[in-house]
């Protein structure tokens, strides 16, 4: 009898192609929208996470001035910079810090055999590459004589490409300001960071060389630090804060005149931004799911009159209410399931296309798929089944009068 009922239901679905199509369409739209949106949203958050990780794990940045928004934020400019002694004391006193290197940057035009290219020149030490988890694809790090003030530079992939195409840059001289600088190393490509900034668009010099020949002072405008594996970043930040307050003689109760940023914090911040975005997408998706549901509801309710008559006829020829209801239930389930499967396929396809267009990984979420499918199925079943149940409770003659 169940098999017979399924056949009846399928017959009935085929008999009303328009109604069936519209019902399925409602489910398809709802399910596909939710899956596509959530998939793209997930991909975006995952992308942000990898981006932040590419900045270097356990990376801290110490800057002078308060890192505050709003009134008083310009006091940062007035705050005292650091100096190289500060770095020695940090390494000396805080065991959790494995790397602490000075960094300073300027935007300068680099020249090579008549090619000009404006880039960011950063003065730092070899530890910078360790902190940033950044390997060389060719050449070597700075030698100790270079670190103590000789001219040399390590360049990023973008700078290499802009200045000398695919040629081997090692040993070639590029001019930066009025400094003739031999390229000793080429960095591995790192790509754009979370803010869309090309990290490979960089020239790196020994800090002392940069300080003397370009910046004109040994002031340290920021310090890049790395927390040793297995140590708590929060503890390290606390220790660092206490030490810097001591070094900079800040009275208890006064505000810090420096700020510490860590990548974890950045990751969290960006993570919350993307989750807001994902939430927004999901809300839009939920609305389309609802619209799809209302569509299904509409179709089902519009056909109630005709269906009520049909139920009357079936009961007149001897169908029991339970048999008629089973048929309608199976019909609603088959339609919803069909719509759900098509919707999932379509949603995943749209998600894949969207992900590849936005350049983010394709991460379908089984929970969402199940949820979207479940919701549409429930709508389809409830609105397919309940009007039928109401009709089946009538005396056959009442149903026939419709």
């Amino acid at each position: 009898m169940l098999w017979e009922t399924i056949k009846l239901a399928v017959q009935s679905i085929l008999r009303n192609p328009m109604r069936s199509f519209l019902t399925i369409l409602g489910v398809v739209i709802g399910v596909a929208a939710v899956i596509a949106m959530v998939t793209v949203g997930n991909g975006s958050s995952a992308q942000v996470t990898t981006d932040v990780e590419s900045l270097g794990a356990n990376l801290l940045t110490l800057r002078p001035g308060q890192d505050r928004m709003g009134p008083g934020s310009d006091q940062g400019g007035a705050a005292r910079p650091f100096d190289l002694d500060d770095i020695d004391r940090i390494l000396d006193q805080i065991g959790a810090i494995s790397v602490a290197v000075p960094t300073g940057s300027q935007t300068i035009v680099a020249v090579f055999e008549g090619e000009n290219y404006q880039t960011t020149v950063t003065g730092t030490q070899n530890g910078y590459f360790e902190a940033k988890d950044w390997a060389l694809s060719a050449g070597r790090l700075f030698s100790s004589s270079e670190e103590s003030g000789k001219t040399a530079c390590i360049i990023g992939q973008t700078v290499r490409e802009e200045l000398m195409g695919s040629a081997d840059p090692i040993g070639r001289k590029i001019r930066i300001d009025n400094l003739n600088c031999t390229v000793v190393g080429l960095l591995e490509a790192k790509g754009a960071n979370t803010f869309g900034q090309d990290q490979d668009d960089t020239v790196i010099m020994p800090f002392k060389t940069f300080a003397r020949r370009i910046a004109g002072s040994t002031d340290v405008s920021s310090i890049t630090l790395s927390v040793r594996d297995g140590y708590s970043t929060d503890r390290a930040i606390d220790d660092l804060t206490n030490l810097m307050r001591e070094i900079r003689r800040i009275q208890p109760g006064d505000d810090d005149d420096f700020s510490i940023r860590d990548t974890e914090q950045l990751a969290n911040m960006l993570g919350s931004v993307t989750s807001v975005l994902t939430g927004l997408l999901s809300a839009v998706a939920a609305v389309s799911l609802l619209v799809g549901g209302i569509g299904i509801m509409n179709i089902m309710l519009v056909s109630v009159t005709e269906r009520t008559r049909e139920i009357g006829i079936r009961m007149a020829v001897g169908a029991q209410a339970s048999q008629v209801l089973l048929q309608f239930l199976v019909e609603a389930i088959v339609l919803s399931a069909l719509g759900g499967v098509i919707g999932i396929a379509l949603g995943l396809a749209m998600g894949a296309i969207g992900s590849s267009m936005l350049n983010v990984p394709f991460i379908p979420d089984p929970g969402t798929i199940a949820l979207a499918f479940g919701f549409s199925a429930v709508v389809g079943i409830v609105f397919g089944y309940f009007p039928a149940r109401a009709a089946a409770r009538l005396d056959p003659i009442e149903a026939l009068r419709h």
Partner: protein
């Protein structure tokens, strides 16, 4: 069941619509017996309760009071599912408005009662085709009702009513929408079913010519049976 007694016995049946001021007694104390093999015609002015009587007989509607025995069984004592079984195994309906399922072939429409009898597909089809053949529509088995004329649709409905070998066929103005020629064809079919297969027939009609095909005439007025007498059949 008592197969010697009347197949239908109505005793003082009432059917009241509405309440208080708006109360309407569609049936107001109807009593009659119908015996196996009879062909009963019911006539009467519009609104006299003919269709209401048929619906009560068909267990499509429940009387407000009175006793209805079908084959000796008290219908009021049956639940909805049991009444469905009674319709399934003993009754066939022919409605004035045909009541065929739309977008469903004549064959499938005729098969419908057999599905609920739990009959297998092949036997169902064979029986439905035989029934359609009996009403002269075997060639139209695969047409939708919308592709059939009124007379043809009514014949499909007759095929559906007789396909399950019912004991009683209840026909409410089966020729109401048809011209005289088609009407006579339908009536000849009914007489044939009555005589050759022994099916008891109860038929409502407005036309004397059609009523004359029956063996007995019940005349209703204002929800009551006004007269009930045998018809001399033109042999």
């Amino acid at each position: 069941m008592d197969s010697n007694g009347p197949i239908v016995r109505l005793t003082d049946i009432t059917r009241v619509y509405g309440k208080g001021e708006a109360e309407l007694r569609a049936l107001d104390g109807v009593s009659f017996d119908i015996h196996r093999g009879e062909f009963v015609s019911i006539m009467g002015p519009s609104g006299s309760g003919k269709s209401t009587t048929m619906n009560v007989l068909g267990c499509l509607d429940s009387p407000t009071s009175g006793q209805y025995l079908f084959n000796g069984v008290e219908v009021a004592g049956l639940d909805r599912d049991q009444r469905a079984l009674l319709r399934r195994h003993y009754l066939g309906f022919i409605f004035q408005g045909y009541n065929l399922l739309p977008r469903t072939t004549a064959l499938q429409n005729v098969e419908l009662p057999l599905i609920y009898k739990g009959m297998g597909r092949d036997e169902r089809e064979a029986r439905a085709l035989a029934a359609l053949d009996k009403v002269g529509l075997a060639a139209r088995a695969h047409h939708d009702p919308s592709a059939l004329s009124g007379g043809q649709q009514q014949r499909v409905a007759i095929a559906r009513a007789l396909v399950g070998d019912p004991e009683v066929i209840l026909a409410d103005e089966p020729t109401g929408n048809l011209d005289t020629k088609r009407s006579v064809e339908i009536m000849e079919l009914m007489v044939e079913l009555n005589r050759a297969e022994g099916i008891t027939i109860v038929m409502v009609t407005h036309e004397d010519d059609m009523a004359a095909f029956g063996s007995r005439l019940i005349w209703m007025v204002d929800g009551k049976v006004e007269s009930d007498k045998a018809i001399e059949r033109a042999a």
